[in-house]
Symmetry: C2
Subunit: 428 residues, 2 copies
Amino acid sequence: MSEFTDIASYVEGLARNAKEASRPLGFAPNEVRAGAVRAMAAALRERADEVLAANEADMEAARAAGLSDGLLDRLLLTPERVEGMACGLEALALLPDPVGRVLDHRTIDCGLDLTKVSVPLGLVAMVYEARPNVTADAAGICIRTGNACILRGGSVAQRSCAAIARVLADAVEARGLPRAAISIIETTDRAATGVLMGLRGVVDVLIPRGGAGLIQRCVREASVPVIETGTGNCHIYVHESADLSKAVPIVVNAKCQRVGVCNAAESLLVDEAVAERFLAEMLPVLAERGVLVHGDAFTCDAARKMGLGDRCVPATDEDWGREYLALEISVKVVSGIDEAIAHINRYGTHHSEAIVAEDDAACERFLVEVDASSVYANASTRFTDGGEFGLGAEIGISTQKLHARGPFAAEALTTYKYEVRGTGQVRP
Amino acid sequence: MSEFTDIASYVEGLARNAKEASRPLGFAPNEVRAGAVRAMAAALRERADEVLAANEADMEAARAAGLSDGLLDRLLLTPERVEGMACGLEALALLPDPVGRVLDHRTIDCGLDLTKVSVPLGLVAMVYEARPNVTADAAGICIRTGNACILRGGSVAQRSCAAIARVLADAVEARGLPRAAISIIETTDRAATGVLMGLRGVVDVLIPRGGAGLIQRCVREASVPVIETGTGNCHIYVHESADLSKAVPIVVNAKCQRVGVCNAAESLLVDEAVAERFLAEMLPVLAERGVLVHGDAFTCDAARKMGLGDRCVPATDEDWGREYLALEISVKVVSGIDEAIAHINRYGTHHSEAIVAEDDAACERFLVEVDASSVYANASTRFTDGGEFGLGAEIGISTQKLHARGPFAAEALTTYKYEVRGTGQVRP
């Protein structure tokens, strides 16, 4: 994009056009928005070759640059993955309309008729990394909710994202909506993200999707509102009343079923009353699954006695706050539920936390006193997910408390307004 | 507070204690929180003399510093005003519990029981200016909603705010809740506000109440979440179908009933089809009320012809965006509803906007297409207020779109969590 000598004016121009496009989109009827999303799905299917060709160019460059296999897999598009994007869009079209919901209605004393109604936010900015399919997910959820979007994909996925956005914008335009409603930043200059984060009054919300570095940069530097997603230092707490035949599979599932995700367990707390018995069952299973334990003194000692000393290293204070996103877990023996709750509220990231206990009072206390978006009694933290919770297509999992918390879906891309109908009322 | 050589550690220490206090408060039963708020009211009545003496010291210093009458009036406490604070607290105690509301409940396929329940935010920071009574309002609404608060009053009101906070903290402590739940920053060092704004992970939300300077500083500089309140560049748009016998009183009420407030009208738009007839009625009334008009060419011309040339100055482009908070108003003739809506969406602050029209289609179009927290057909913008809307004690009027928009009350000081009860479920 060498023709854009001034990144700031390029990004601001794109964003202002997108914001302008958000207005007619915002009051387009449900059928029009749902129809546009269906047309986006159809266009992706029809023009899959164009998208796959762009992706092949990204893949070639990425291979040449020596990217890791994991990253290459995230970048790769296949006919099946394009079909997956199209199906995702069709599912969005079927959602009940998130816009125009009457949230409250009353007549106030002086005769004014007051309706609180859900409306789109306006312009949604999404900043993401290697996965090109986020382009379709983000554009789809925005159009469905009457929002325009400005997208900023990772530089390795530049061509793929641009091709997808072009196909989708064409489809939207063919349905009589402004194509600027799906805008994409086409430069690999990192300064573009900085500009986007500062467009107060133009960008209504910024949602970063990606690694902790990206998200923390947005939270720290953005002057536009941000929905913070991501970091999950999730705990499993095994209470003295736990049924160990539940505890062991829950830990294995939460740690091992998918290690690179934010709702995976990163830390295990065990009541000292059951520590010896539980660790005797748990540590061999973790070792067998290839999980490295960062243990406190008791845990390391137990591991050594079982001949698993090489699978357990001493935990440092830093380990209690770490999100490994790998086959590693910290393990600490606690004196009881007080210490467990205090530890989680101190080191957790308010994402997902679980207790395993047969004692109902302990479960209820944990559910109430632990400060997290999703708190579990006797289940794996891996369930924290918009789809699993039945909320529909998830935009992300919010670790903040304002606006959206936990898994959030289309509704989080709306705000509300009060419509007041009168007959000349003035305030006494 | 010369003993605090290190403002940063002083403020951070206070905030961390307050955060600690938020935990037991957060799961205290409704009766305990409501009882504490009633005890706060009783304590204020009992110890009114102590509060009034502190206020007299503030007043003396303020008079010596030559503060304006307006500011002195905002600072002044009287027995009646203390009684007003006590009554406000008692009204809060009567509110239905904002905490523990079940917002959603479902059993998901694998048998997990999912409850979405409202919970307190944790630690609420309020930064405000001259009015000492904000101390009681803020502390009351926080305790009622299970939040701890850290308060930062204006330096002129330092002694009054500290005295009120002390009385209220004593009352809370006497009811068995931690007194740090009502914490107040007792230093006039401006750096304290900066420290508070940066306490991510400790302060859960910052709500500035005061002038545009304070609010903009918080929005720009805070790394903690902020609820932006305040600025209102509100418009009254007189459509060609308007009943002028409604339009004139609505404009007078919106502009003159109370000029220093954010829901007062600052700009008047008039369809050209009725401009001559409407201005012939409106301009003399505004002149009589002492309102200075910043008019476009047509308006200035009309004023001159009526012999009101001295009450109308030419508007500059800047006037369209100005919040006068005074007996001044900008007036512009527009070609019709398209131009009116575009003008409001460009120059408004998304606070409160009104159309006066007998044509229902015009009203409905305005209500839908204008992007503001509160949109009115045939009523004064002055109704935008938590009390008027029947929402209960208002914390402020939000001009942002995320979390809370428009007048917001106790509910905005809650978030939610998902409580998930299982029997050993793991994710397949």
